[in-house]
């Protein structure tokens, strides 16, 4: 399959996924108990007002008509209006997305910085004590409830030691840096705003550690098994036989080849990070998309939930597409075919 063909197929698939998601979320929103018109109007609203809102929202029309209306709006980038915030859902998501992205990037970096070396060492010392310890660490990461780990960290670093903040992105006494990328770390550096940068780092540490630790196991496990596979290859044996230093063999030959298949898994983990951040964001009152969707769900704010799910799935598939492209770019075998 040629490279262009692959991209075309994947883009087509992306459309299919978005269509599937919109169908599911639409059905879900019609299963939700309670009348959304009543929720907008409030508890003590007169009957006529509720009926008017009901009509305005098109809820009296046939379900199929409602769905097509929804899809045509969707194609124009209109995800509806949030019942809770009274703002267009797309606006809300654009406001909250950078916070989630920043948290996910830092968390992924943490899991890679610690996960890759640990995975390499485990593979080199397979079935030795180090490998068993590494395995225990990775299984613990995968088995830890994020919400609980977050609480423990808050207890120690905020409650007992009082050295790190427990919620938010930045101190309330410090003005957020001027908006350029929406990522406070980057924006505060661009503005040369040192206090804002420091405060952002402080606020990021605990949530990023929580998320990063949970994904550490995934990264470690993947690197370990990829390394084991590569280390058995003939070219490694050749390199050993020709007297190259073990360090060079591991870094130049083995790790580089082990990283190629790992890109896919770690890329997938990034997609999960973006949305798996829901619990972490709730614990740390992190103003991201995860927090937004949990608040929307408790308010039965179905346009927000639908919009979020669609945006989330689209980004998820796009990330996977980019990962595939990166994979193709890294792997000479695939490049040769393309």
């Amino acid at each position: 399959m040629s490279f262009a063909n692959m991209i075309r197929r994947r883009l087509l698939f992306l459309l299919l996924v978005v269509f599937g998601v919109s169908l599911v979320t639409f059905v879900i929103s019609h299963m939700i108990p309670g009348n959304p018109a009543e929720m907008i109007a409030g508890d003590k609203a007169p009957r006529e007002l509720v009926e008017k809102i009901y009509k305005d929202m098109g809820l009296d029309r046939p379900v199929l008509v409602q769905y097509f209306k929804y899809i045509s709006n969707l194609l124009q980038g209109d995800l509806g209006t949030s019942i809770r915030t009274q703002r267009p859902v797309l606006n809300d998501i654009l406001i909250f997305f950078p916070a989630t992205l920043e948290l996910a990037i830092v968390a992924l970096s943490i899991s890679i910085i610690f996960g890759v070396p640990l995975g390499v060492i485990s593979a080199l010392r397979k079935d030795k004590v180090v490998d068993h310890i590494g395995h225990t660490v990775s299984v613990t990461g995968i088995s830890t409830p994020a919400f609980w780990l977050g609480l423990l960290l808050i207890y120690f670093f905020y409650g007992k030691l009082g050295i790190l903040p427990a919620s938010g992105r930045i101190d309330s006494s410090i003005a957020p840096p001027a908006h350029v990328t929406g990522l406070y770390l980057v924006d505060s550096l661009i503005a040369g705003d040192w206090p804002a940068f420091k405060s952002t780092v402080n606020h990021l540490i605990l949530p990023a550690l929580t998320l990063g630790f949970i994904h550490l196991g995934v990264v470690m496990r993947q690197i370990r098994s990829a390394m084991l596979e590569v280390l058995r290859e003939d070219y490694i044996r050749t390199a050993r036989a020709s007297g190259l230093s073990p360090t060079r063999i591991v870094l130049d030959h083995a790790l580089r080849n082990a990283l190629i298949p790992s890109v896919t898994i770690i890329g997938l983990a990034f997609g999960d990070l973006l949305y798996g951040a829901v619990l972490t964001e709730t614990i740390f009152a992190w103003p991201g998309m995860g927090n937004y969707v949990v608040l929307s769900i408790t308010a039965l704010d179905f346009p927000a939930i639908m919009g979020f799910t669609i945006v989330a799935s689209t980004v998820y598939v796009l990330v996977n597409l980019m990962v595939d492209l990166l994979y193709a770019a890294l792997d000479p075998q695939i490049r040769a075919i393309g």
Binding site: T25, I28, V139, P145, L151, G159, V278, F308
Partner: protein, 289 residues
């Protein structure tokens, strides 16, 4: 996973026991799982108090000889609630996996054996489902169905189905080409007989391994849904819900959210170590490494 069943398709038990001994973590996992199952069965004998017994005068008491894990905001014994909580969590974990596995295996085997357009259509739908951000969809499904443990279980199970469909389909496709299946066909065995005698028993091991690996994840997800209020409801002694209530008392009564969370962690580690070990043993690609 297409090559995950060896051509001979019989289990070498001596080899299995040898490899179990090679894996101390798997033994740890087995012990934890066994302990959790015992706790679940013998909860009324192990727990010193009723899980819902109130003792208002003794509310928020720190861990002591009388209350090993302390008491909660209405004086219930946290140790007893954690013990009883194993019943809920393990039931949910097993329930999710059984539901997803049975549904997924049937769809997958059907798809693989049917082939052609039906197969393509089913697999495309599964691909689309796999592209959903699963926890977000679980939240959306569970909230739509209404907050309860059963609904949380259903939501998690539905999203796990595609994994089993893929596995079962792969197995069906690869087993269909096996010499003994071909032989049975040649000798005129009926289709149903071939499926039940040859395909099902040989396709099971990898699917069961996947199921074991999934129990831990299912327990975690269910407790997460309960934590955000979409799963078990008061006064049920569910670990995730207990952490959620305990969260409000974190800074002054650390024991309240800590012990139920520790129970989730330990149980998940047990099932995951056990599942990992099983995979090492039954997946030939993981062998000989």
């Amino acid at each position: 996973m297409n090559n995950s069943v060896t051509e001979t398709d019989h289990v070498d038990w001596a080899g299995v026991f040898y490899r179990i001994r090679q894996q101390p973590q798997m033994i740890v996992g087995m012990i934890i799982v066994a302990l959790v199952l015992c706790t679940m069965v013998f909860a009324p004998w192990i727990a010193p108090y009723e899980p819902t017994k109130l003792d208002i005068l003794n509310r928020l008491a720190p861990p002591s000889g009388n209350h090993w894990f302390g008491t909660d905001q209405i004086g219930r014994d946290i140790f007893s609630r954690v013990i009883y909580g194993s019943r809920i969590s393990v039931t949910v974990g097993l329930g999710v996996v059984l539901l997803a596995m049975r549904t997924g295996a049937v769809i997958g085997a059907f798809s693989g054996l049917a082939g052609g357009k039906v197969d393509t259509a089913i697999m495309r739908i599964m691909d689309v489902m796999l592209s959903f951000p699963s926890f977000v969809m679980a939240i959306a499904l569970a909230s739509a169905l209404g907050p309860s443990l059963t609904n949380a279980m259903l939501a998690i199970a539905v999203l796990r189905i595609p994994f089993y469909v893929r596995l079962a389909r792969g197995q069906a496709l690869s087993l269909r080409e096996r010499s003994y299946v071909k032989a049975a066909e040649t000798f005129g065995s009926s289709r149903i007989r071939i499926v039940w005698r040859h395909i099902v028993p040989n396709a099971l091991p990898p699917i069961l391994v996947q199921a074991m690996l999934d129990i831990g994840a299912a327990i975690l997800t269910a407790s997460a849904l309960s934590f955000i209020g979409l799963g078990a409801q008061e006064p049920a002694a569910e670990w995730g819900a207990m952490v959620a209530t305990g969260r409000n008392f974190l800074l002054d009564q650390w024991w309240f959210p800590t012990f139920p969370g520790l129970a989730i962690l330990t149980t998940a580690i047990g099932f995951n170590l056990f599942g990992d070990g099983l995979r090492e043993i039954f997946d030939p690609r993981a062998q000989g490494r």
